[in-house]
């Protein structure tokens, strides 16, 4: 409920964007620049580029912006370019074309030292395969970003302790990564990313290698942390359920392109093409579809028989289907939807509700 509202507020305030990508392309191969020119001038397809230049298009014409404090999920199957894309944000990979701004800085114009500085202080990253240093204790792994920055030991250990407490790993400071389970190792990875207190968190499929139960636990833990710390996060995943659970907004990638960006509700209720539709087919809509998207406006509502709205139960615009069903089974009346001020704005009757559950369409 709250999510939909905050999003409405954010969309109106675009000046607050922390990350901004404009027409970013990445073409892999020795002839990438020639291929890029050809793509722009002749509008070649991915297959054409591979045939003509033996180059692979990693990401194609990606543009989006992420606002401060937002969790922006990027979802796509393996090979869709999502991991490649996220590596552009801290320039682990150089784009072939396009502009990338992070925290107001043009990332592409930074020299080596400036780039290292941004990486060490402002952008934290969590990796799918943890990538912990096996020869260091958990404490020293978490402290690694601070060591890179040249902080003294006492400060390193203090911060490291705080971060480990935060991910509930108190007491494991002096273990080695190999002594920890996968879920715990990834929590170390998260603590390490938080250690430098970055403004931006990049999470590259952090929970994909974990079993479902642990994954859920970590998602909950991450969301709690995120609510507390309010870090701007780009979260890569191949799991739409995860994206919907975690993301304020979701971008769906296919073949290097972003095919749709929107809130979980928008993605689920209004998929732009068959690719996205295939994905959202199996997703339960109960928690994702809200009254405002299925209701019939009150002045357009044509009742089958005369009704008195006074006896109807009331529900807020932001109520989800789950909540509306709960109300509907207790009454025979239609449900009246109210706005923030309490005024009646729409009607949900049984038919509308059932349609909503079925397809999320009004």
């Amino acid at each position: 409920m709250a999510r939909a509202d905050t999003h409405l507020i954010r969309q109106s305030d675009m000046s607050d964007s922390v990350i901004e990508l404009k027409n970013v392309w990445k073409i892999f191969g020795s002839d990438a620049n020639a291929a890029m020119d050809a793509v722009l001038s002749r509008n070649l397809s991915k297959a054409d580029v591979l045939r003509e230049f033996s180059c692979v298009v990693g990401i194609a014409d990606v543009s989006f912006s992420v606002e401060k404090g937002e969790i922006f999920c990027v979802m796509g199957l393996s090979g869709s370019g999502k991991s490649t894309m996220v590596r552009h944000l801290n320039r682990l990979i150089e784009p072939t074309a396009g502009a990338i701004t992070v925290l107001g800085q043009d990332i592409l114009s930074l020299n080596d030292a400036e780039l290292r500085n941004v990486r060490a202080n402002r952008i934290g990253m969590v990796f799918q395969h943890m990538a912990l240093l096996p020869h260091r204790t958990v404490r020293d792994n978490v402290a690694f970003p601070l060591q890179v920055r040249g902080e003294p030991k006492s400060r390193r250990w203090e911060v490291s302790q705080r971060c480990l407490d935060r991910v509930n790993l108190t007491g494991y400071e002096d273990r080695f990564p190999r002594e920890l389970s996968g879920g715990m190792q990834q929590r170390v990875g998260l603590a390490r990313a938080l250690a430098s207190d970055p403004d931006v968190l990049l999470m590259d499929e952090p929970f994909s290698a974990l079993d479902p139960l642990i994954r859920r636990q970590l998602q909950d833990q991450f969301m709690a942390l995120s609510a507390e710390l309010g870090k701007t996060t780009v979260f890569i995943t191949h799991d739409l359920d995860e994206a919907i659970r975690i993301g304020n907004r979701i971008a769906i990638m296919n073949d290097g392109r972003i095919v749709q960006i929107g809130t979980p509700e928008e993605i689920v209720t209004r998929p732009t093409d068959d690719y996205v539709r295939d994905f959202v087919e199996g997703i339960s809509k109960l928690k994702l579809v809200f009254a405002h998207s299925i209701m019939v406006p009150i002045n357009e509502y044509v009742p089958a028989r005369p009704v008195n709205f006074d006896e109807s139960p009331r529900a807020h615009l932001g109520s989800d289907l789950d909540h509306l069903i709960d109300i509907a089974i207790t009454t025979d009346h239609v449900i009246v939807i109210t706005d923030d001020a309490g005024g009646d704005v729409g009607i949900v009757d049984r038919a509308t509700l059932l349609r909503g559950i079925q397809g999320g369409k009004a």
Binding site: R119, A120, I123, H129, A131, R149
Partner: protein
């Protein structure tokens, strides 16, 4: 036959790949035979007349080149036996000897007759005795010649039997080989389809190049003369198939050039070579002062304590025993000289080898160039590079260390490079994502992760340095190596054994302590 499960359709071209499209000629026959082979788990009797009669030629026609080469050689071997049995002048050598001796006897007997005529009875008797002895030798040679000629029949029979056996093997094996070829072709490998005239021609060229010359070589007593006779001197008289018709002329010229080259280098870069010698001498002197000038109880005490602290009590006991052996055998000073020599060698190997290994680990291209050099350093017999080392650096300990360096450096270089390449990309990427500099990446991530491999390299380098001790003593490096070299020269077995044990103990002490250090460091004591 309709499409069966064994048919494959190429997804790119849409061609149907089955036995029929593979064999083309005689497809019915091969379809039936392959079915027989594929239907049995064990050996299926499948006889191919064409292959049995034509042998290697069948292989060429069907593009079964493996079959061609195997049976080309087997048939050739059988034919050589047959040829030797039929025309091989097997007793020729012995017969020639017999004739030579007979001639000698005749000469001597003529001389005896002369002496007798001259009245020298004693001289004649002596001459007659020699002639009689020679006659016996001649008879022996004649017998050997006859026996050799007699064995011709058995060789002929053996050859014929072998030939028959090879033919049978060809007949039974052909379809198996061809079926395997079919399976390769079906999975998209480029294999010949059907019969090919071009392949037959290539095969014939191969046969013509191999069979006649080889048969002549093995069946005719003097092949060169025979060829010269048959061809009517077409290739001249000196042309030989027995030996490569070149003397030592190229070799001599190049060897002389090489000598001149080395001499020139020795003079031109004398200063640089002297500098290197000096550098090695410094390291050596430093180590020798520590190991030899320090009183022996101190060295022993420190070594044992070091072993205890670094590698535990068991290694300490072993170290004490080994040192006691060296001391009681009176080999203490020689051992310390040896250890200094090895220590200097190993130290320089590590000092130069690890940075090189890091470089080769990071740069694929550099490693491509370095690999053959490293192979060369390890496989070239030590004596070969001892010669230029003497030319450039003279004799004594520093050149000995240098020879050790050449032989013992490759493992540490290779294993460092291997370790560097084994560092997971994801780990390096993570470190970079946290803002590491190249230097921080190297020292905090790459080297620690490559350490196990590097330590193995250092260990191997030390052991290989030890194995060079005796060879280094050849160019004047003193120590236990010289002791063993001496026992080799005087066949002093006991001395050699005791010296060898001393080297072994030195090696084991160093190795155990080094491994102990590593184990402790990696935390799995």
């Amino acid at each position: 036959m309709t499409m069966s499960a064994a048919d494959a359709t190429d997804s790119r071209t849409g061609d149907v790949r089955n036995v029929r499209t593979f064999a083309v000629e005689n497809a019915d026959y091969y379809e039936a035979e392959f079915e027989k082979i594929e239907g049995r788990t064990g050996f299926a009797l499948s006889w191919n007349w064409a292959a049995a009669i034509l042998g290697p030629v069948w292989g060429t026609a069907r593009g079964a080149w493996g079959f061609f080469w195997i049976f080309l050689i087997l048939e050739l071997f059988a034919l050589v036996q047959v040829g030797r049995g039929l025309w091989g002048e097997l007793g020729a050598d012995e017969l020639e000897r017999y004739n030579r001796i007979r001639e000698n006897v005749e000469n001597r007997e003529a001389k005896v007759a002369e002496l007798r005529a001259a009245g020298d009875t004693a001289g004649a008797d002596a001459g007659q005795r020699i002639a009689d002895n020679l006659k016996v030798a001649a008879e022996t040679a004649l017998e050997a010649a006859t026996a050799a000629n007699a064995s011709a029949t058995s060789i002929l029979i053996f050859g014929l039997a072998l030939f028959a056996f090879v033919k049978i093997a060809e007949g039974f094996y052909a379809n198996y080989a061809y079926e395997a070829q079919y399976l390769r072709w079906r999975s998209g490998k480029p294999e010949q389809v059907g019969l090919s005239r071009r392949s037959v021609i290539y095969g014939m060229i191969g046969l013509a190049a191999i069979w006649p010359l080889t048969l002549v070589r093995f069946t005719v007593a003097d092949p060169d003369a025979w060829i010269s006779r048959v061809t009517g001197g077409l290739f001249g008289d000196s042309w030989s198939i027995v030996e490569f018709p070149v003397g030592k002329e190229y070799f001599t010229v190049l060897a002389l050039r090489g000598d001149a080259g080395f001499d020139w280098l020795a003079i031109r870069f004398g200063g640089a070579f002297d500098g290197i010698t000096q550098g090695i001498r410094w390291v050596l002197d430093g180590l020798e002062v520590i190991l030899i000038q320090t009183p022996w109880p101190v060295v022993m005490f420190i070594t044992v304590v070091m072993a205890y602290r670094l590698a535990g009590p068991r290694v300490a006991i072993f170290t004490a025993a080994a040192l006691a052996y060296l001391a009681f055998m009176g080999l203490w000073e020689l051992s310390m000289i040896t250890v200094a020599l090895i220590g200097a060698g190993a130290f320089l190997c590590v000092l130069i080898g690890i940075p090189l290994g890091i470089w080769f680990g990071k740069s694929r291209r550099a490693y491509t160039f370095a690999e053959p050099v490293l192979d060369f350093m390890q496989t070239m017999p030590a004596f070969v590079y001892l010669i230029p080392i003497i030319a450039f650096f003279g004799t004594g300990k520093p050149p000995g260390v240098l020879a050790t360096l050449i032989f013992a450096m490759p493992p540490v270089v290779r294993l460092t490079a291997l370790g560097m390449r084994g560092v997971p990309e994801t780990t390096k990427e993570a470190a970079l994502a946290f803002g590491c500099t190249k230097r921080q990446l190297l020292f905090n991530v790459e080297l620690p992760l490559a350490l196990p491999s590097i330590m193995t390299g250092i260990n191997q380098t030390i052991l290989m340095a030890l194995s060079m001790v005796v060879i280094a003593s050849l160019i004047g490096a003193e120590g236990l190596g010289a002791l063993i070299l001496e026992s080799l020269q005087y066949a002093a077995k006991g001395q050699g054994l005791l010296g060898g044990l001393a080297i072994l103990f030195c090696a084991m002490v160093i190795d155990r302590i080094a491994q102990g250090v590593y184990r402790k460091k990696s935390g799995n004591v």
